[in-house]
Symmetry: C2
Subunit: 230 residues, 2 copies
Amino acid sequence: MTTKVDEPASRPLRKDAARNRALLVQAAREVFAERGLEASLDDVARHAGLGVGTAYRHFPNKHELAKAIFAEAIDDIVSLAELAGTMDDPWNGIVGFLEGAAEAQTADRGLREVLMGVHDPEQMEQINDRISPLLDELVTRAKATGAVRADVETTDIGVVVMMLCTVADITGDVAPDLWRRYLPMLVNGLRPGADLPVPPISNDQLRTAMTTHKQRLIRAGQNAAPSPHD
Amino acid sequence: MTTKVDEPASRPLRKDAARNRALLVQAAREVFAERGLEASLDDVARHAGLGVGTAYRHFPNKHELAKAIFAEAIDDIVSLAELAGTMDDPWNGIVGFLEGAAEAQTADRGLREVLMGVHDPEQMEQINDRISPLLDELVTRAKATGAVRADVETTDIGVVVMMLCTVADITGDVAPDLWRRYLPMLVNGLRPGADLPVPPISNDQLRTAMTTHKQRLIRAGQNAAPSPHD
DNA sequence: AGAAAAGCGGAGTTGCACACTCCGGATGAG
DNA sequence: CTCATCCGGAGTGTGCAACTCCGCTTTTCT
């Protein structure tokens, strides 16, 4: 839960600098988890009990800091998908992945935003590239064993996770675990039963949907590209 | 679908003024439906082919305009709940309400925001006051007939609608009807079956969750209160 | 038609939040 | 004790959305 973010270790940092860097990383974890990437570097610095200048000394900008911090969490999600793929019973794999993914994302608003590609569509696509093949295989196997209905697609998994995240997003402060109430309802819907009235979307569609979506909500365009003001 | 927003009719508007007012209302409907209340009055004016000044001549600010426009849509949702309550089979009532509410909200991002209390918590609470008693009664009856499980609460209805709205929110541009795919999965979860692992939240909790939620996403505080800059 | 009232348009003003810089002063290393 | 390194936070730059102002146009009235 608390790991160090690897630094190039060119020249050993001065003692206070090292301490502050650690404070910043920890503060960023907490702040981004709670308020998402909309928090400013100033917020992170203040939460760490440091000045803004210090924050900018250690990280060129907010997104670099975020990238550094979320790299592990992303790897964890990928491992989760891998783990799910190695399970004997694909159904257990799917449910396990859903629960784990929802758990990770509901606990961390920033992670949610990263996975949804709110700030960096490219990064999201890379993550998608890593995860979706794993889920594809899992879903295929689950269909073969009859654990899930034939018309279930991999994108359904993603959509279900999103729905659970919504619940956590909205009710997280009031009832952090409420999303678990709706998990069984949703996974049950994947099992064989009545057919679904509308076909799933393709992975590409889901991607573009995710990347274009919040651009509108979280202030259009923003400066995903560099050149803040040169 | 196209109704006039009642004006006090103190002195009859000049011909061009009346026409422009209608244009503004229509433009606002379209713009708010597509982009939500984040759209500026400038946007609405431009979309109507008019100047900003004209917009401000007719409406003191964006929120007044929005209030005028969404009043009907809100009434429609309430009527939907009433209609659902009058149905003989409470199960049909519930499903009908879910579908109708989701349909209305997924078609109109602005309406969604209003119902979620993103911009005006008070207004949302009023709406909640009008709807939740109706749904309470409906759910009670549905439980009595065994159509839904005993541990289902009225707040579950609201949460389900939210989840469907999320799907529409994200995938609306790519596949406007995709949310319907997940409707049966969710309503099916309300039927008798395995128990849910987590208890529902109270209506009050849901309210506060909704009002506090997006304040953070859509720029904290903003100027829900008047005094923009006096 | 002609004048006055009503309305229009959109450049410009104000407020605000965030990203990022800068440099005098503090702190740690040798 | 000295100096390189680092800290802090006031200050600068930028962008955006809300809203105003006033010269000009259109309608209405007689």
